[in-house]
Symmetry: C2
Subunit: 196 residues, 2 copies
DNA sequence: CCGCGGAAGCAAATATTTGTGCTTACGATG
DNA sequence: CATCGTAAGCACAAATATTTGCTTCCGCGG
């Protein structure tokens, strides 16, 4: 029998591979090195064979999208605070906390990066986007169920979501304290009575 | 001696090459094909040898940054309308008009794409960003000179600039009419008296 | 217990991108 | 008009990324 002494070739299960690769993506993206993000690098970092990555995901975009979706859907406890304002504040605070970590910033950048290339499918982009806005939509629906009158999604996008994204994209530091409160106040204060 | 009969090798001047390559970048970026954006593709599209591109720009990031800077600085007439609100409205309207064209969207995406990779240089990012915000800064200064009290740059970023960027990134259509007015109204209406 | 399908690993082939040496054209300058 | 510096083009080489064929292992149903 062939001595497998140094052939420590432990084959990991699909689940382990998936997790390891996802983690590698986030790691590489958070790393401040100017290293490029490509499949061989990811595979190496994850300790899996690059062919496995190619076969499973096919393209970097698909991998990014999958990573983002998986990670983001894992971190949305999204507890009900009892009021629209409370829920929005909780969301904004969680977002701030998230993008203060380099991993959080990496995820946001991954969202952005995974968007443009899949340009040939506008429907796909929309779908991706819907997923990102899902928590917001939930908050709106709960508010509506309570009889509150939540601002339209577009307004929440403009006044609450967009500021976070643009700061991550351009690498701008968040204002010190009270930023979530500031944004939510603006959002709820300005368009209060203005319906459609 | 090699016969150069059909060697219709017209060598274009540096300026022509520059322009052709810039145009190719924008074209490829606007094209709805899922084609990847890389230097060989750009060079081919521009009809120049790819080595010229490599030698002149060195990297895709540098090329993107150069393209963006050149194009954006060309399209900023930015005339003085006589009031802060007027200037902001003009800026917002121009932005809307710009990102209604696929070329305009391409430019914005190029801005975003050219950002992340230069991650090792936070100062470089900041500088890039400053350039993007230059017109806004001008508007603020003119307003200040008039005795008006313009909102701080951060607020303009959050309420005016960010919404445009996020819509381009996620490929969301702009609201029908009155969007510039809506954003500017929110901006000037909400934070009017609120100082720091 | 035995075979089967799925997926990971390995290795090698292929394709693509990036970089280099050299030649040649253009324009500026004397 | 001669010369020189710059930058484009070509051919080819090196480096990287992507794909493919095959083997091996794992879990599952017969």
């Amino acid at each position: 029998m062939p001595q497998k002494q140094e052939s420590e070739r432990v084959r990991r299960s699909p689940e382990q591979v998936r997790a390891a690769v996802h983690q590698a993506v986030v790691d590489l993206l958070s790393d401040p090195q100017g290293e490029e993000l490509n499949i061989p690098a990811i595979a190496q970092r994850a300790g899996v064979n690059h062919t496995s990555v190619y076969r499973r995901w096919g393209s970097l975009d698909a991998l990014l999208a999958d990573t983002v979706t998986t990670r983001l859907e894992r971190n949305s406890p999204l507890n009900d605070t009892g009021s629209l304002r409370g829920d929005l504040l909780a969301w904004a605070r969680a977002s701030v906390a998230s993008i203060r970590t380099s991993e959080g910033r990496a995820l946001v950048r991954a969202v952005v990066l995974s968007m443009p290339t899949g340009a040939q499918a506008p429907g796909e982009r929309a779908q991706q986007f819907q997923r990102r806005m899902h928590s917001i939509e939930q908050i709106r629906q709960r508010a509506a169920a309570r009889g509150e009158d939540p601002p339209p999604p577009e307004q929440i996008l403009d006044q609450l979501v967009a500021p976070f994204y643009i700061r991550v994209i351009f690498g701008i530091d968040l204002p010190a304290d009270g930023y979530p409160e500031l944004l939510v106040d603006r959002l709820l204060g300005s368009g209060e009575g203005s319906g459609s």
